[in-house]
Amino acid sequence: MMAWRQRWDRILPHLVIWPPLLVSCAYVLVFSVWTTWVSFTRSTLLPDYSWAGVRNYTAMLASRNWQIAFTNLFIYGACFVVLAMAVGLLLAVLIDQRIRGENLFRTIFLYPIAVSFVVTGTVWGWLFNPSIGVQKLVHDLGWTSFRFDWVIDRNMAIYTIVVAAVWHGSGFAMALFLAGLRSVDADLVKAAQIDGAGAWRIYTRVVLPTIGPIFVAVLVMLLQFAIKTYDLVVALTAGGPGLASTLPALVVYDFMFQRGELGRGAAAAVMLLGSLTVVLIPYAGFRAWQNRRGAARV
């Protein structure tokens, strides 16, 4: 009986670790490798394993779709991350003032993250739509020269995505920042008060530097949100007008499943994966550096 029990105790950790690991390997690694492989082949509608070299990559990099999508990704990524962090931090600092009804506000601001991207995109689509949304409302109030037609404006369409994404993501940033602010030793603030620092200086010089690691964590999470963005655009602008608000993930889908250019689409997907890695590797390096510094301390 005892021996059986011991054997079970030895086996159990393996049972817990291996099946999920194998499943993740199958889904993540195998399909990533397969996609990478396909990206070097002449595949069109169906996989075709004849070698094509880097032709798909050069073709994608030269294509207008990819260039517009990637430029958009830079605009959208930068605006979204900066604004979502700024709004999130502002909300967190305001809520941190021990206001009444804190739980209510926290719930309200955190709620958008519980709404799916498709719903977010659809609702913001209505708001931005000149014939039924905000423009219509203002017109009906009597200000008929008012224009708010970003969603159909080539130069502004990408910013409608930014607005919707910031609305969706800043509550999440707020929650992380608030947790960070709450973890700051209250004595630090008291010490700064006695040292004669005002509220602005207490935050900028004492509190926010203390939660530096939270900034990095929020930055990385928002960036990978940005790079993966797909359904929000589909629901809000469908990449339009024309290609004005398309993003790399939409290009991947477009080439793979609508144009029947599996090789090209796969190449685009691999490049998208590459850009995610560009974000995550510095973060991993930062964590390793932090751990080393932490270890050196002890």
Binding site: K190, Q193, I194, G196
Partner: protein, 368 residues
């Protein structure tokens, strides 16, 4: 000159009273210690002095200036926190100059002050390190340095040694005392450690349940505690408090503990005459019950020898704590370490009767 005056200060959170009508007058250059068990209100009082918290009633004066409505930064105080509260993202140097920077002290002067304080605390070598790279004792020094770069009217210390290990605590305690003697600054220091209070203070305020039980020099607090709470709180081991009955024998007051054969009689102070025939609580410090060869004083009647059964002994090395029975009640004595006592046997002890205190069993205040 009075450096700090606390007048009728009360604090309550909702219906819950934390401080009840506190009155303290602290002179310039004094080292005052607020001591008491946790929850007695001592830290709240310190926060009210610092301006980080506000009193519900009453007023605070620092250096003769009323402080009601004056922000912490304008009170000309410096504070050392229990957690040290060093700014983790700044170097030791920046930690110490941050306050001067906020107060717009010229750079040149900042450097001079930093230099002087760093030398005083011997932390010159640490100036470019971050707090996370310092040991507990070093952090403690930097925290004090941050307070010392200011030349305030009042230094406030909030349990500054309680995060250090026992050995370091004793070292830092001596260092704080030396600093105070050297700088002659006015200090209000909060602790729950009565040994810290005894060793450092020029005056001790013993607090309990939001009330100052006694505010006096360490000697008085120790030898003439104002009430039973102070008697039992100060000293380790604490004062023995035994039920006794006062009797008049040949015109002298005698405290009797126990009944019949085992009764113990000790001469009591004459001022307790009016209490003759009544029940009291007799307080006596463990070091006043010791081996029979000990000679306390040349004055007649100082030393009385009693016989008492020994229940247990605890040798600590420097001395031996004896648990004994005085008239049926348990009491502690302290004897020299070379005295060998057998458990369960009756031994003789010398009692220093000068140090006997008597308390009213109902009001718990000291009678004599």
């Amino acid at each position: 000159m009075s450096a700090l005056t606390i007048r009728n200060v009360s604090k309550h959170y909702g219906p819950l009273p934390v401080l009840k009508d506190i009155n303290l007058e602290i002179d310039s250059g004094e080292f005052t210690i607020l001591v008491g068990p946790s929850g007695c209100g001592k830290s709240t009082l310190l926060n009210i002095i610092s301006g980080l918290d506000t009193a519900s009633e009453g007023m605070i004066e620092i250096g003769g200036r009323p402080m009601n409505g004056v922000a912490a930064k304008d009170r000309n105080i410096a504070m050392v926190f229990q957690s040290y509260a060093l700014y983790p993202s700044m170097t030791v140097r920046r930690n110490m100059t941050f306050g001067m920077e906020c107060r717009k002290v010229p750079k040149q002067q900042q450097a001079e002050i930093l230099d002087r304080v760093a030398r005083l605390l011997q932390i010159e070598a640490l100036l470019d390190r971050k707090p996370s790279q310092l040991s507990g004792g070093q952090r403690q020094r930097v925290a004090m340095g941050r307070a010392l770069v200011r030349d305030p009217l009042l230094f406030l210390f909030d349990e500054p040694l309680s995060n250090l290990d026992a050995k370091l605590r004793v070292e830092m305690r001596m260092e704080i005392k030396r600093l105070h003697q050297r700088l002659g600054s006015t200090i209000v220091y909060v602790t729950h450690d009565q040994i810290e209070a005894m060793t450092l203070a020029s005056r001790i305020a013993v607090m309990h349940q939001g009330v100052v039980q006694q505010f006096a020099d360490p000697d008085t607090v120790y030898n003439r505690p104002a009430n039973l709470f102070v008697a039992r709180f100060m000293g380790a081991p604490p004062m023995n408090t035994l039920a006794a009955r006062l009797e008049m024998v040949d015109g002298a007051v005698v405290a009797v503990m126990g009944q019949g054969e085992t009764a113990v009689r000790l001469p009591a102070p004459d001022v307790a005459q009016t209490w003759a025939g009544r029940e009291v609580v007799l307080g006596i410090r463990p070091e006043c019950i010791t081996e029979p060869t000990r000679h306390f004083s040349d004055a007649p009647g100082t030393t009385v020898t009693v016989a008492a059964p020994v229940e247990m002994t605890e040798p600590t090395g420097a001395e031996t704590i004896v648990v004994l029975r005085l008239g049926g009640e348990q009491a502690l004595g302290r004897v020299a370490p070379d005295i060998r006592l057998t458990m369960g046997e009756t031994a003789r002890f010398a009692v220093d009767t000068r140090k006997i205190c008597l308390f009213d069993p109902i009001s718990e205040g000291r009678i004599a």
